[in-house]
């Protein structure tokens, strides 16, 4: 469903702040894969998702979604295939617009926007039903401005917007990190439910190793801009947090030892 072929990306090339965020990254997702992505700060997790979403062009490599080469497509063009939920609850929705308007915008993702009316009566009914499934009481507040909602409500709404068109690929970029634990669990459970029901190919970044093990059928660990550990199926189910920590130690520990040697 998604193929990342030898993708590299360096920020601020040629300056003192040069940072190679992706380094010959290769990844192939099968249809229906629900992949959790873990890794330390600066490992390239978000950069990978942004590269797939087309936030900026990559330096090298190719990205294919469902066999279509999207490497040269701009962010809004790729949106036809991709649903996204961001870490910051403010990013995923238009605060000054109504709940139903936000949903209507998302419903037209990947379609031509012309001079037809922006939201029809039939849509409103559909949105009411969809919002009911969130169980947050939003179905009675269709015309409320999104800026009035709480962070958790906004993330749930963004999730709905990202998935209502059944995208070929769903990208969740630490979408529960900014929420309180209770709300985070609710949004996470909802995400898993939506992914399962719609059989969506999904990549979810998380900092929580337990969540990374609990959700999805596959887990990848990133380090220095590429994937150092890729596990799926039965093997993933048997994983323990301690296993992941050990893997992490091996990856970063080597580096740490080298640093020490240089210092001494």
């Amino acid at each position: 469903m998604l193929e990342i072929q030898n993708v590299s990306k360096t920020f601020n090339a040629g300056t003192v702040n040069q940072k190679t965020a992706l380094n010959g990254l290769n990844l192939k997702l099968n249809e229906g894969d629900f992949v959790t992505v873990i890794g330390g700060n600066g490992a390239g997790k978000s950069t990978m998702l942004n590269a797939v979403a087309g936030v900026w062009p990559v330096d090298e490599g190719k990205i294919l979604i469902d066999g279509i080469d999207v490497t040269k497509l701009s962010e809004h063009q790729r949106a036809a295939y991709i649903g996204r939920v961001f870490q910051d609850p403010m990013t995923g929705t238009a605060a000054t617009m109504q709940i139903e308007e936000n949903l209507a915008l998302a419903a037209r993702r990947g379609k031509r926007r012309g001079l037809r009316i922006g939201i029809t009566k039939a849509e409103r009914e559909r949105y009411r039903e969809l919002l009911k499934s969130l169980d947050l009481g939003l179905e009675d507040r269709l015309t409320a401005r999104v800026g009035l909602l709480s962070g958790g409500q906004r993330q749930a709404l963004t999730l709905l917007m990202a998935t209502m068109n059944k995208p070929k690929l769903l990208l969740l970029d630490e979408h529960t990190a900014a929420l309180d634990p209770k709300t985070a669990l609710k949004v996470l459970t909802l995400s898993a439910k939506i992914v399962e029901e719609n059989h969506l190919t999904t990549m979810m970044i998380t900092h929580n190793m337990k969540d990374a093990i609990k959700y999805g059928n596959r887990l990848i660990m990133m380090y220095e801009g590429h994937i150092i550990y890729d596990v799926s199926g039965e093997e993933k189910k048997k994983l323990q947090v301690s296993d992941l920590l050990a893997k992490f130690q091996i990856a970063s520990g080597g580096e740490f030892a080298n640093d020490r040697m240089i210092l001494s």
């Binding site: 809004h76 949106a79 403010m90 605060a95 308007e101 379609k111 926007r113 012309g114 009316i117 922006g118």
Partner: protein
């Protein structure tokens, strides 16, 4: 006593102030679209206002029908917005600077359109839509009535347009560009489109003013952005609470422009030095722009502290 005598002149000057306010109100609606909806401060308007006036007067002088002249002025305005939009999106120039560049270039272009610094058009010789000569007549061609009709039609069209898929996309672009792109909206295209529509309105307003005053001048748009912002801010301050609907918000901008011109007329009647008018306008706008910031910075905290105190207690 002298003051009272001066004030007695005010009623006679009011119709003129209303007409001017209504005409500038159309420009202010253009400013509202960029400043409030697209979240871009577009300085092109100082130039495109004059472009509208220049194009309209030259078209009329060449014997064109008044509606056709207005339409061509509108198209010229669209083109100026297109230029600013491309400078901003295609060439990556910050929006404010892009507007200033277009505005400066338009000064030369407006001179070239008219061939000299100003061109007059005589209402007796040409069939104009509005003229200040008719401002106290009770007839359809009274500028107040005519511009109210034009404004109502424009607001109707804008209300429809910003309710369409395309219009919703433009609103989303102004509200949250990152989200818009993630939802497949071409934000660059929408910014260009929004700037074009806005400057089309501004040019139309300039075209109406040139007919109203009987001439077009190369510097007639100077400070237009400030007048537009003043109208937007006054409209929001006075009607913000009661007018929530988009169409009513546009109405409040138009009303804001009328209030602005009535206040200007009032201070002029009271003997204020006309040379200081722009200083006064700029100061008023600066203060009004600062008020929301001050409110947030200096006046919001006490209530928040109170709440905290209540919690702790």
């Amino acid at each position: 006593m002298e003051l009272l005598a001066r004030l007695a002149n005010l009623p006679g000057a009011l119709p003129g102030a209303c007409a001017q306010g209504l005409i500038w109100g159309i420009m202010a609606i253009g400013v509202y679209l960029t400043y409030r909806i697209l979240d871009v401060a577009d300085l092109t308007v100082d130039g495109s206002f004059g472009t509208g006036g220049a194009v309209c007067v030259m078209c009329l002088l060449s014997g064109m029908n008044v509606w056709a002249a207005l339409f061509i002025a509108l198209l010229a305005g669209l083109a100026t917005g297109l230029v600013t939009g491309l400078l901003h999106t295609f060439m990556g120039i910050p929006a404010i600077l892009a507007g200033i560049l277009t505005q400066l270039a338009l000064y030369s272009i407006n001179l070239k359109i008219m061939g000299k610094a100003n061109q007059s058009i005589n209402v007796d010789k040409y069939d104009l839509l509005i003229s200040l000569r008719w401002v106290k007549e009770f007839a359809l061609h009274n500028p107040i009535i005519m511009v109210i009709i034009v404004t109502a039609v424009l607001i109707g069209v804008l209300y429809w347009f910003f309710g369409t898929e395309l219009g919703c996309g433009i609103r989303a672009t102004g509200s949250n560009p990152a989200m818009s792109r993630a939802q497949g909206i071409n934000t660059n295209l929408n910014v260009v489109l929004g700037l074009a529509v806005s400057n089309g309105l501004v040019a139309l307003s300039g075209a109406l003013l040139s007919q109203y005053q009987g001439f077009s001048d190369v510097s007639m748009g100077r400070g237009a952005i400030v007048i537009g912002l003043a109208a937007v801010i006054i409209g929001e301050a006075v009607f913000g609470r009661i007018f929530q609907n988009f169409a009513l918000k546009l109405v409040s901008v138009s009303l804001g422009a009328i209030i602005y011109y009535i206040v200007i007329q009032l201070v002029l009647t009271l003997g204020f030095d006309a040379n200081l008018l722009k200083l006064l306008s700029a100061s008023v706008v600066a203060v009004f722009l600062a008020v929301p910031y001050w409110k947030g910075k200096y006046f919001a905290k006490p209530t928040a502290k109170k709440k905290e105190g209540a919690k702790n207690a």
